[in-house]
Subunit: 247 residues, 2 copies
């Protein structure tokens, strides 16, 4: 058992990152594989933490929407074993007051699920930070790289607009175990428009001035939830998990 | 009180449409302002009905997400008084077996709300028909026409992909009370891709071969709800209507 994961953040390997960020007054979001003793046993989560400009740990999120499968599937060009190696996160979709606004986190496959954004939207989220690590191809679907990038951006842009929040999607790029990762990092405004985007599959820094006041217009008009939502007709969303055709 | 709205469909004004569609073996979806006596009083709903190829009325939907406001607002270039003239629909988001698959309906502003698509997605919807009537401008927001068309398509494309369903969005185009309507009718595949689109603001017929089997792949993989959804963390979606920051 690698004791590295069991240490609280920052551990010795990440202390330098925390120190340098604090020296520069830069907050950040960091994803990692978390090994923790909880409820009397060792547990593994796919985790992100949020650190403010002063170097203080503000929030922790454990990934809820684990994709893929739990057993080896030989027909795949690469395995997708998140359901084998991680437990479903137990933190829920929380938000935190930081960076002068209300901030939330999600991880990778969470970005494809409307509930991710909505649960945070209902807590007035203004900036959602999402790390992801997605290969350019899916050997089962035969999707083109272009279609997969379209889905990557479509879900984050819709999540931003429909909840009137900034969304920052940060990709791992490059090659992992011989498989190219899609990259495609973006900063999305509350209008759903991409205001900054990575252009290559290499290392890049992208920057945007995220005015959180830009969240206000849609939150108080077209997406004024208190005025327009009708939860009395949304029961299936929480009452059932999979598809049920009956009443 | 105009008795027209109080008659069951088809009324004398629409009988010709029903007859001609039946003669040609074409099913259709029809939106109208419904005036009905229910619960001992006259009620107004924004309604759509679904008619199959044999001319049989298959389903009725009454609009749930009424946008706008209930009182005159002089600062607007045009009024948006749906909350004044209609009641919130009481049918819920149902689906019907028709056209060889599972079909749902939504109306106009419903298309911007993730819950619309998800509640039908949880009933295995394969084709959602949406009529809308949206002006090119919003005098309060100052949005460009391009941004408003982007939102129109973004929400339908995301709803299609995230629920692996066809979405058919049919716009009223042309000029109404001196205000141009945006048009932009589209047929969206379960991949979220637009496969047919109107090109003008005039009358047009757009056509696509909607193979409902194309819904199957995502429904059984990336959007296999039974495998991947986590309703235990979605509670806010049905427990609260507006924004609440606390737990």
């Amino acid at each position: 058992m690698d004791q590295y994961f069991d240490r609280a953040m920052p551990g010795p390997e990440t202390q330098l990152l925390f120190d340098e960020a604090k020296r520069l007054g830069i907050g950040f979001c960091l994803g990692y594989a978390e090994l923790v003793e909880e409820e009397g046993r060792l547990r593994r989560f796919n985790t992100s933490i949020l650190i403010d400009r002063a170097g203080t740990l503000v929030g922790k999120y454990r990934k809820i929407h684990l994709p893929g499968h739990a057993e080896y599937e030989p027909q795949r060009s690469h395995q997708h074993l998140e359901k084998r190696y991680f437990e479903v996160g137990n933190t829920g979709f929380q938000v935190w007051e930081a960076f002068g606004g209300t901030v939330g986190m999600a991880i990778c496959n969470d970005r494809r699920w409307v509930e991710t954004y909505r649960v945070m939207g209902l807590q007035n989220v203004e900036l959602i930070m999402i790390g992801y690590n997605t290969p350019v191809s899916d050997s089962l679907s035969g999707e083109t790289e272009t279609l997969r990038m379209f889905h990557n951006h479509l879900t984050m842009q819709a999540g931003a607009y429909q909840n009137s929040t900034w969304v920052v999607g940060v990709a791992k790029a490059g090659v992992e175990d011989g498989h190219r990762l899609m990259g495609g990092s973006v900063i999305v405004a509350p209008t759903g428009e991409i205001v900054a985007a990575a252009e290559t599959e290499g290392d890049e820094l992208i920057v945007a001035d995220c005015d959180l006041d830009r969240c206000k217009y849609y939150k108080s008009h077209i997406f004024n939830f208190a005025a327009h939502r009708r939860p009395e007709f949304y029961g299936r969303i929480t009452e059932q998990k999979g598809v049920t055709k009956g009443p």
